[in-house]
Point group: D2
Chain length 343, copies 4
């Protein structure tokens, strides 16, 4: 199975290459990247020294493609591939929102290939596994939506919370990619935490879209999503808050009930674990797990759910491979069965 | 002015010593600490080399005392001093809650000196400056309550939010003190973020008590306070969320209105700044500022306020000195007029 | 192939469990640990959740054992196993020094099983591969000696340096293990670097012993080994300095000659790479590589070699598995063929 | 006393502004910076909010100037000021090397004002205090030379080491300044250590020049200087190695003798301390101290000296103010009498 990675020169691209190195069925045969074209991949990323690949401008002959391009550029590159039948996972935001108008509002450009939107599947396997299996074009979810939706979905489906949600997410710096910026300069980022995108982050409409699907019949939920930058390389810690509606026992019993609900919901999921203790992001370093810890603030009558992912794995490259595995009929965990590197 | 520090061997104690070194009126003449008694202070903390002090078991002859003991031990040590008229700032939690029953519920011990509670003043100068000025016993606020209350007070006072608040706080590791623990072991804490105290943190009743004072006539506000550990040494980033009630213009205008409200509220405060851009915790490294950034999530109709403090300064030792200055009639900023160390 | 890990509760033990999870031939069936006996392994190390193992007091029925006990305790535990013919890799220092008197001088205890020393093989495969293949008891090298010896061996063997060496090593904090200490407390370790063991580190005699073997006929080399603690979790960066003797071209040509010498020496090594550019420790995060960068300070006539390893992998658990693979006739890289996790 | 800072927009410039804020005699009245001209200083550096200054293109009317421009640009800016008699401390490398040819060899440009070199004084007060006192143009030493020279000077002067020195320095990332680069990108720099400038660092000739002055009559010493990048913001840890010559007692007595020698040498220095225990860089965070720890590797017959500085303070801005104080007859420690911020 010959696989290509479009734009291997960012962190998501590099992480795809790293993870696919252990994949039993798929082999990376082509990697592209504009600025680095002509260089050995190991020159761009010395940790990928064992991959004997040269970065090229154009994708060669492949059976499957991942795009790790930025939005807009990605849809442009991916559209012709999809049209000629190549199965594709797009890691960019281009095919996540079903509504091209909403896309334009948040991304500031006209959608380059709106006619493909109807066939794109939002690739969060825990919500849309069957659809991913039949898809040719999968939109890989954003890192924040992955952490937030896996934290909230069982509660929403079970109807135990009101559609009034606060999502407070803390991300490591690699989430911002490899592009340089003062805010990611070591001396300024280390030993510092900050909030950003206080006027609205692009992952908000994606979260709202998917929560609305889980709350059919209701008006769109009232969602505040606030991302923060914390001084670590990988990892997203998401804390979600929502007032309880009905259906849970009163008092302390609510905690056990919520926990049971989540365990039931994720019992057969290969990459979601309901953690027995509040998890650390580092428990997912380098692997595809999402750890979820649900509880109830009994005093305030609020659901509180914490989730942890590695933003570059379950939040990007790992989930993309999970989607590929589903699309191609491989074992869902193929190539992803590594334990986190800890400490 | 001869000052003593009871239990100088923790971070709050050491930070008191560091800051008072520059104080024009107060001079540290006595420092205590059980385990380190007999050692030179510079042996315990090499960065305090310039202070020629020996750690003793008992407080000597002083005009003013800070206690940096743990709760319960602090009240026991402080009570006799207060009774003989020595002015004291207690950095522990012992005199923060006005209700001894509530204290016992959260701290698991009977209050050692409940008869002193009526005269203790909650030492958040921005809320209780006049009372601090006249006090002999000041309870220095917790680090989290300091960040949360300064973020919320102007909005509560102005009546623009409903009494339904989520406070999501991210703290550096020094907040847990100098006592060893696996969760603060470098290899486990670095590159990792986690939530803790999901069953309720001891700073919650303190936050609720003070918010309730600001919302008189209402039932106690519904507050969820969730602390997190992030991999940095100093700093607390607090993000507060509350649904708007009335009194703000609709739409984008709400942002400017909220900003103006906060600027007005803090105009003459020496240690609170309404930041023009979302602040980093590192902008307060080593100094006594609280940076506040208020805005509105217009889509969700929610107030969002971010605040930054150095947990060891405005969250502990710096605020304690600010309180001492007020109690003794010194300039409020005496000894605290240093800029943050950045980067 | 049933494998046991004695003392799984430290970092080397946990790393053995993590890496062996991917091993095609060996399966961990027994893990011991005194304090944690009776607990699930996933309770001690949540990142090992996929391993369904309970920590026990005694090693069960296994075909191969790793000991990750501290020195002295390890020899005591390992000796009976070796006597009854079980092949063992000992990660402790107990069987590294061939001379029991030297052992006692540095470790302060009488050697618990000196009669086993003659059969123990120093398990640095790049120096002693043939002997490891035939061994029943392999002493896994220390983390510092691994980085230093791989940096120096080709130069020593080629006779291009004088036996007068300075080894300046910078280690991440996990090298000190999981035992708590103020110097590894996050707030004190982060943003700080220091030298330690200035009176002599226990890895010195091990380095001297192995260098002396490479310099036969000479008096023991004059070696200064100085370790440092730097604020990172994993990784050792070692910089070695030695005056050139003869055999290299003068001037800038010496650089290319040294490089060629090293490339030749390590051409067929699966886990040593001569890096084309000065490497970062992070290029080895989580994997078994040693990256070596040799050059010459032409002005001073000195060889300078930099090496990078992950102290928990090539410096401990990974190398132990490499040794097991050799002892048991598996492919040398079995279970170790993962790329570094970067960034 | 009106002071100006030329190029305030880098870290050295910002640190000058921070430290001078507490200076009792000098007041910053003018700050320049090309790209930021017209902005408020607090916009560029929010932690300098209390300084009501606007960044300008040209230096206004001042009595004293610091230049924090890059090399070459600095000499060009400073030369006219010096010619019209303004006392200046130049933080760049432009006036450190006495030989314009050597300057050109290392910096790749012709010296812009070689005629000023004879009057420039190398501003390491511990070596050249008297000359600094009488100077109008002081070349502030590089950060690495400061740490290395203060570690070595007493030993060289006392004649106890051979002129054959290895200097292994570990620097925090702020040493590279505020200019962006992949190697300083948080995700790539954190949790990683590396060596750089293996073909020779520009601070080498400066170190050699000053060591040669201390070793008159000898041929220039054979010096290998190797810098490393470690993941911390501030701080340089320097470890120096040199074979002993004569003059020290044999065996363990050498350690005490060396220590006494250093204590004697630095007894009256306000900013050098011989540390009783091996120091951490963090013990100097934000202040002007150099901590020195001398010892002897008795086995190898080598002097080993460790020093710690904050590269932005004693390694740049603090030392520049110390020089200003000497030039203008202020107390040498004026404005610099702050304790390190720890932890």
């Amino acid at each position: 199975m010959k696989v290509g990675i479009i734009n291997v020169t960012g962190y998501a691209g590099a992480e795809l290459a790293r993870l696919l190195y252990l994949h039993p069925e798929a082999q990376v045969v082509s990697v592209t990247g504009r600025s680095a074209a002509g260089k050995a991949l190991s020159q761009v990323f010395p940790h990928l020294w064992a991959l004997d690949l040269t970065v090229t401008e154009d994708l060669g002959d492949v059976d499957f493609a991942f795009s790790a391009l930025p939005h807009a550029a990605s849809a442009e590159a991916v559209a012709p591939l999809v049209r000629r039948g190549l199965p594709v996972v797009d890691i960019s935001a281009d095919f996540r929102l079903t509504d091209a108008t909403e896309y334009q509002r948040w991304y500031g450009v006209e959608h380059p290939a709106p006619e493909l939107l109807p066939q794109a599947v939002y690739g969060l396997p825990e919500l849309h596994r069957a659809a991913v299996r039949g898809a040719r074009l999968v939109a890989n979810p954003g890192c924040y939506p992955t952490g937030a939706l896996l934290a909230l979905a069982p509660a929403v489906r079970a109807g135990i919370i009101q559609p009034d949600v606060v999502i407070d997410a803390k991300s490591g710096v690699s989430g911002a990619g490899r592009t340089l910026g003062l805010v990611y300069h070591y001396a300024e980022a280390n030993e510092s935490a900050s909030a950003y995108a206080l006027d609205g982050h692009r992952h908000l409409p994606e979260i709202v879209q998917e929560l609305a699907r889980l709350w059919p019949g209701s008006p769109p939920p009232r969602v505040t999503f606030q991302p923060h930058l914390v001084p670590m390389t990988r990892g997203i810690l998401t804390t979600c808050y929502a007032p309880l509606s009905d259906g849970l026992p009163a008092g302390e019993g609510a905690k056990a009930a919520v926990r049971e609900l989540y365990e039931e919901a994720y019992r057969s999921e290969p990459f979601v674990r309901v953690a027995p203790e509040p998890p650390q992001t580092k428990h997912t370093w380098g692997n595809n797990l999402c750890l979820v810890y649900p509880t109830v603030d009994v005093r305030a009558g609020r659901l509180v759910v914490v989730s942890c992912i590695d933003n570059l794995v379950k939040g990007a490259a790992g989930q993309a491979i999970q989607n590929m595995n589903l699309m191609l009929g491989f074992a869902e965990a193929a190539g992803l069965d590594q334990l986190a590197v800890y400490p």
